[in-house]
Symmetry: C2
């Protein structure tokens, strides 16, 4: 099973990397850009056919290792 | 308009960060994980109401700054 985990900084947490990219885009005349936030996308391949079980396990992975839940939120999408 | 850009390393390009996370997951007894790839998710807010125009402009941003098209692929999702 293919699992996509998206991890983003929580609202209100400063994102200096996003700010830097925003500035660079403005310097390149992309003046319509109002805000940039940069997060991670992690693609996992998991040997498990049960969707419920996979979701539960990947949630554990996020809590224990993949995300820093103090400052980040995550979402999990499961593809077959 | 909210635009989500997902950037991943192309197939075949080594991903040492993904490998490190994979090892860490195995050490935590997540033995069902077969493969891990780590990419970026960039969320842009763009002042533009035309979907076609937005897509074209964000594509330009990807080609010029956001993605390294030699080793990375990108996909663009537009939300209203």
């Amino acid at each position: 099973m293919k699992v996509i985990v998206n991890i983003q900084l929580k609202e209100g947490v400063l994102d200096p990397q996003g700010k830097a990219v925003h500035h660079a885009l403005l310097a390149l005349q992309f003046n319509e850009v109002q805000n940039v936030r940069i997060g991670k996308q992690i693609i996992l391949h998991v040997e498990e056919n049960d969707k419920e079980k996979t979701l539960k396990r990947v949630k554990e992975m996020c809590e224990e290792l993949l995300a820093n839940t103090v400052i980040e939120t995550y979402s999990i999408d499961i593809e077959n």
